[in-house]
Symmetry: D2
Subunit: 342 residues, 4 copies
């Protein structure tokens, strides 16, 4: 059994880790930390866990965490980088769901997050945990940076095209729509039901923190720097990301076959039949990314539709997928839930 | 392995049966019928099942169904009663999620459903499948009538009080709020998102078909006919029933203890701590009924709050719970999912 | 033209006052105060007002407010009572949308609001601004306490029955469902879209601050103290209250006629035809209260369904209705908007 | 007073016309037709109109319509073209909210609508009712084709750029998100609350009927045929369209100034300050189009955000704006409502 610790389990990625790990057959949850809720029953804060989990939140202290086999960080950015170096030193594995280790370039990180990175030396050691690209590196990593939600949906949609050099890498457009849970579990006016239901808006068009992460990943698979316009939108639903991706084809290709072959062996990427439109509700609560590819009017613009659950394949589920790979378990273990419809 | 057939699997209780049975370790799904969709892949209609279920809808014919160990009817009322007699004759077990066998009195059934009942002789044979009341009878039944959604939430809330004669049975009020999925998967204007979101309304105040079912059940536990006012409301959400129940106490009692003791051994009734308020989202997708009991200002009105998922404990989950009991399996088998929050 | 000041216009009742007053033909808005937003354009915070209102928020100082003909307080409780005495002294009229002057009994107010009332001497002077009951007193009042949202929907539904002594006043039940805007425009986790959509729950069953206000009002019309059980529910929509009211009839009466006659001359109470169910969306954005009355199965329980927009008839619209009455204007002036459907 | 007839008033654009026309100071509504609801009170079907409108639905017969000064068609496509020729012949003005007269090319119309056009000779006579482009022609038109919802939001966003030749017309992308009311008031499974809330999806990527309309309009202002990729999405809200538009700049320009100057005199186009993001809720129920223009990272991709209410500026409000222009009234008459927020 893998001994697991979770830091910052009062947020949405935290409770989602708990929902999935409670039923994972190879895991025991050793400690669930929260500075603010220490001493409180976890199932008191999250009543969906009543009857499934009996533990209390505990203080985030190094030693009990270091005694785990693996520690998940489900924290806002800038928390993990304070604790991770000591855990790494003690040989504990770390799977970080925050943004602290996603960018390889410390200067770029500091530009976007507007503060010094406290352990830049670990940036090169961290493996970017997108299994569909980095599975081999994930197997042996001690520190895994789980991709963000927008980056997961966007990269999985563009990868088959960029790997093969089929679209102009200098002019990519990602128009992404996210449910409100992407903003996290924190008191704020903008994400009240009263403010965000019956409404649609773009935000952060001038520059969202996921932009450099997506650009880094797409540049890697493209082999040269990409030019990306990324426009996120806040959508009146709890969960889900729908990324609508646009690229300019530079040659003719059977797009359907391309996508099906690229992901034929991937357990969590589902290419829909030609002409389909993925719906976020069909992946809610699951680790699946559903993708459809279109070439409207047969002109040279390819349209990729990519749908995930931002809290599962875009966060906690992908984190567990990384854990499974890293510990040599079947990659889908504990991740076979079916979306609830309707 | 139990061989299962499902009649009418294109509705919401049908797809919910499939979601739950696909992962049930003691079940094989033999046939999934639909007159309108025969020949189509089930996962084409319900993409959440892609990768989990490979079957096609087939025509609803007697023999393949009769060859099953148990057949679930997830049909509108008046469909089951046409097919059930032949299945019963051939020794097949039947678990009917519709209303056809819930009322013992054929005259009353015909009054509320406004047509002749075609097999009234089976009404007395059918067992009303509320395990918290009828577990023993369920064990040996060949024909089980699964309670409706409102009746489940309402009865579980009133039972501890009525069994002990603690409230005036002649003056019960059930103010129930249901998500829109209770109206089923059928084209209709009133349940369009445009008509039913951002809105709250009562409906069928003059008389809802669940009224006689609830009255029958409560009269049974009370030992005398009850007087019930039942007001259902359409609530702008997909799933969930929240029943708010009012009774007039006839004596002093520790309500919290009463409820905790009554349901101490029930796997799917969760009495919340004193002072709590159950939320429907904490039971969404699960077979749990969460209940809290209050006595505001210590006056003689008791308020019971009872929350279920109308499609699980209020339909398909309870149907499987009945199957588990009837086939001698652990009662919770296949029903241990955790609600997705948020 | 009536010179109007608004204190605390950054909340939902504040912006709603602005929306309605901007088009009121007899009003000029003199000052719109906000401690936190002073100096900012109002339409920057509330872009729906772009092109309709050019003013800035200003500091809440006494003198500019005292120079107005009337000052609306759209503040949380305990703010108005600090400023009102000075305004009253200077002869300014005050219409308070908060709870500070709704209860006549200072001790009871202090019990429910858990702090000393700073001007209890004004409590007896304040007129409770429910026009359907207190129209004459409103005409001459200097200080008007606008009823709360739940109290408005509940009292308008019970009044015809209690005035005529037709129901048992000792056993009233108000099961009320409110949209999330009732919680106000403040950062909080519980009212995030992620927490409050796709969910239904009761809250404050042990005792809600609107309980003593409703009891006071109903006892007034009943002529004796009432016994009320009041259960509020949080409903996944932005606006609207649907109160479902239950009483025990003590004599036979034509309920439809009773209600139609009671409100025949009321511009903002609309009794629906027999058998109807009011929907909150039909009153959204308007000052109308729609009511239907039922006697299910002709038993002795009367069911009244009462729907309002909590921010209009339940707050800002009713405040303007009071202003119109108090200043001798046509009661409906500025309040004739039609609900947007769908 | 202008005598108005409305054909097909049982749909969403119909009730929206009624909501706006009831308060229009220069209009009397002469007949409101519905084949299915003839004889029923309009306010019975649409209770938001109770107290505002006393008429009954009547049969759609030519003569009473021809006696009106202007007839609005709020019908599905292919209805108007049957009645319009006779009305035109009799000198009645027609404002058609359907698609029947939007395309000038009959062959293209027949391709997209898959049936013969019954009065192609009127296509050249019809004026495309986008006031921001065709105001002068609208003044003298007898037959006005009101633009569709997507076409309005999209054209208003692209026009300033294409008129000045500032973007590559061969590579335009319109990623549009619509509320569910765009699907109309008709019984359908796909737009049930249960199917379309908590969900996001693209649809009709292969080709939506608004594509040729948008292309025609943009080609007109561009002066040459445009290449447009148009991807509509179904968004879980009732009202609103948010179009996110992408173009490739061919020269440097002050985009903010360009947009502000282009629409400086337009009463219903509101250019937001630089860096803003329009929200659909701020235009709900109003005839305003709110636009913001961005150039992220100063690369050569311009991003235009354009928000309207699909049923107002995208349909009924724009129809009335056309009527006002055509009849020489102030363009904003009856259209000055403020969006309800929250």
């Amino acid at each position: 059994m893998i001994k697991v610790g979770i830091v910052g389990a009062t947020g949405y990625t935290g409770v989602e880790l708990l929902r999935l790990l409670v039923n994972h057959p190879q895991v025991t949850i050793e400690c669930i930390t929260s500075r603010g809720e220490a001493g409180r029953a976890v199932s008191d804060l999250f009543p969906n866990l009543r009857g499934h989990l009996d533990q209390l939140f505990c203080q985030p202290e190094v030693q009990p965490l270091a005694n785990c086999d693996v520690v998940f960080f489900a924290t806002p950015h800038c928390v993990a980088m304070e604790l991770v170096p000591e855990l790494i030193k003690q040989g504990t594995k770390v799977i970080d769901l925050s943004a602290d280790f996603r960018l390889r370039n410390a200067t770029e990180w500091e530009h976007w997050y507007n503060m010094p990175h406290t352990c830049p030396e670990l940036l090169s050691e961290a493996v970017y945990g997108l299994p569909e690209v980095n599975r081999d590196a994930i197997k042996t990593a001690q520190l895994i940076a789980v991709p963000g939600c927008y980056p997961t949906a966007t990269q999985l949609g563009f990868i088959p095209l960029l790997e093969q050099g089929l679209i102009d890498p200098s002019h990519l457009i990602a128009d992404a729509k996210s449910g409100v849970s992407g903003a996290g579990r924190k008191a704020a006016i903008g994400t009240l039901l009263t403010e965000s239901s019956e409404n649609m808006k773009a935000y952060a068009v001038a520059g969202h923190r996921h932009l450099p992460e997506i650009s880094q990943g797409l540049s890697d698979v493209s082999g040269s720097p990409v030019g990306l316009t990324f426009v996120p939108h806040l959508t009146p639903m709890i969960r889900g990301i729908h990324a609508t991706l646009y690229g300019t084809l530079t040659q003719e290709i059977n797009l359907q076959t391309l996508f099906e072959q690229r992901y034929a062996d991937e357990p969590f990427v589902d290419i829909l039949p030609a002409g389909s439109h993925p719906e976020t509700r069909t992946v809610a609560g699951t680790n699946v990314c559903r993708i459809a590819v279109h070439q409207p009017q047969q002109n040279n613009t390819v349209v990729v539709l990519s749908a995930i659950d931002n809290l599962v394949k875009g966060a906690s589920g992908q984190a567990i997928q990384n854990m499974n790979i890293n510990f040599g378990l079947p990659e889908s273990m504990g991740l076979n839930t079916i979306a609830v419809m309707p």
